[in-house]
Amino acid sequence: MTRSRDDGMFRFTTAAFAAVVLLIVIAIGVELWRQSFLSIEKFGLHFWTGTIWNPVSGQFGALPFIWGTLYSSILALIIATPISLGIAVFISELSPQMLRQPLTYLTELLAAIPSIVYGLWGIFVLTPIVRKLELAVPDPLKKLPLFSGPPLGVGMGTAALILAIMVVPFTSSVAREILKNVPMAQREAAYALGSTRWEAIKVALGYGKSGIIGAVMLGFGRALGETMAVTMVIGNNPQVSASLFAPQYTMAAVIANEFTEAADELYLHALIEIGLLLFIITIAVNALSRLFIWSMQKRTGRTVILRPAAIEEVAA
């Protein structure tokens, strides 16, 4: 009797703490909604489609921030995905055994560097380089919307670049884990039919396709929420522009910059509503990414361990 009661106590106590984690996630959603209802009530859907952000006149349209966040993240994804997959393939399929651990560690290190350090480096090192590149863009190309505007260095292009660097360790580490879980038999089947090495790798990537998509989406989720580094290099100008040269703004950046300046309640609620949307989008993207990775697990019957990058350092 004592024994079962004791076990029940143990189970209950630890479960209570586990429930706290669950509650936190729910509470974040509720709190964000509660703290933004003024803005939600006043603007409704216009909040998401309005392009004017003028706290002085009480006009709050969040479209430029949504645009900036999505555009910068998608650009980052376009740059980071091939690189991340290349790294994952190199480490799991091509690299000599003795290089695997060090390379894994070094790429994980990119995830350990604080965002603020990326930002500092972005302002003082990357921005001048990007500016030189922008100056070097030939005139005919400048007619394209992608390269229009004065070459400032700060702007969408720099932000996308720095985001790409920051996303690489996340995507590549999951993709590497996925490739590790692709059965050797798949590669053997390909080799036995006369595949070259690359063709066998493509078979492995094909087998892990859904997991790889999950890895890419996980990186996307990271990029969407990234704050400091982007804030420091994107130029913080709310406008909807396709130009890589144009200073723009993101959802996270506007919260970081203006939160403590929000003098009236409506302003604050408008900023928190942006936070709410960011929360919803990142949860959706992360959940979707996990679904993809789970469907990969079903296929292999093995668990793909998804670790926060910090754990990777310890348990790798």
């Binding site: 984690v21 091939p82 091509l94 603020i116 350090v117 302002i123 992360n286 910090a310 754990i311 310890v314």
Partner: protein, 282 residues
């Protein structure tokens, strides 16, 4: 060209491109570490550790308050996150297959993916608004929330590394489950969990966004956790976007210090876990 030859060339080129991808990722890593070292190490001096920030226009001074502030903030974060994270992790490791566990695991993953700035807003609503004041406690709560998912998953995984023989041995001796966990399993994984916590602390020590409107900033020396508090990261941010060269110099020094702390902790953790694994195997 023969098709077979072309395929082989394609394969070679693709393999080479994968190697290039690795170099492309290592390039920014090297560049960042290089600049942090070059700009930061030079700017680091005794005053940086011992003095307070000087008023605008005066050169010199240091970040003594911010260094202490960061330590206090991550201390608070640890106090807040470690009990919740560890006990939650223990539950997940002990009852891995229940529905509740998978929901909690999912929640931890979701929390891990929530942007830190959003967690900052939550801490603002939770602590700053009710007390109508920015405070170190609010910052600690924000950082703690960010730490929890890391501690949870780390504890769970490290507990699973503990050989099952140990647990069975304890249970065979008639220990209850709770007893077996706390007297046998957790102690066996403890070095790993402790180093894991260190890494999680190092990780949140680098956070800036959630501190901007929780612990805010403070130009003065303060140990009062109910008051705004300076932190290395916010201070680096403030200095980085300022127009003064001397502040830029100090921002680099702060970045250097941050990176060194994180590197040291992660290397330490790595060594400790390697030892733990060897112990378990041997």
């Amino acid at each position: 060209m023969r098709y077979a030859t072309r395929r082989k060339i394609v394969s070679r080129v693709a393999e080479a491109l994968c190697a290039v991808a690795v170099l492309l990722a290592l390039l920014p890593l090297v560049l960042i570490l290089f600049y942090v070292l070059k700009e930061g190490a030079g700017a680091l001096n005794l005053a940086f550790f011992t003095q307070m920030p000087k008023p605008v226009g005066e050169t010199g001074g240091g970040m003594a308050n911010a260094i202490v502030g960061t330590l206090i903030l991550i201390g608070l974060a640890g106090v807040f996150a470690v009990p919740i994270g560890c006990l939650c992790g223990i539950h997940l490791a002990e009852y891995p297959e229940t529905r509740f566990s998978s929901v909690v695991r999912f929640a931890a993953d979701v929390l891990n993916g929530v942007p830190s700035i959003v967690v900052g807003i939550f801490a603002y609503g939770l602590v700053v608004l009710p007390f109508k004041r920015f405070s170190a406690i609010a910052g600690g709560v924000a950082l703690g929330l960010l730490m929890i998912p890391i501690v949870v998953r780390m504890t769970e995984e490290l507990l699973r590394l503990v050989p099952s023989g140990l647990r069975e041995g304890a249970l065979a001796l008639g220990a209850t489950r709770g007893r077996a966990v706390f007297t046998v399993i957790v102690p066996a994984a403890l070095p790993g969990i402790l180093t894991g916590i260190l890494v999680a602390l190092a990780r949140v020590a680098g956070e800036t966004a959630p501190l901007l409107f929780t612990s805010f900033n403070n130009r003065f020396w303060s140990l009062d956790v109910t008051q705004p508090m300076a932190s290395l990261t916010v201070q680096v941010f403030t200095y980085a976007i300022s127009p003064y060269d001397d502040w830029h110099r100090q921002a680099w020094a702060g970045a250097f210090l941050l990176v060194m702390i994180i590197l040291a902790l992660s290397i330490m953790a790595r060594l400790a876990v390697r030892r733990l694994e060897r112990m378990n195997r041997g």
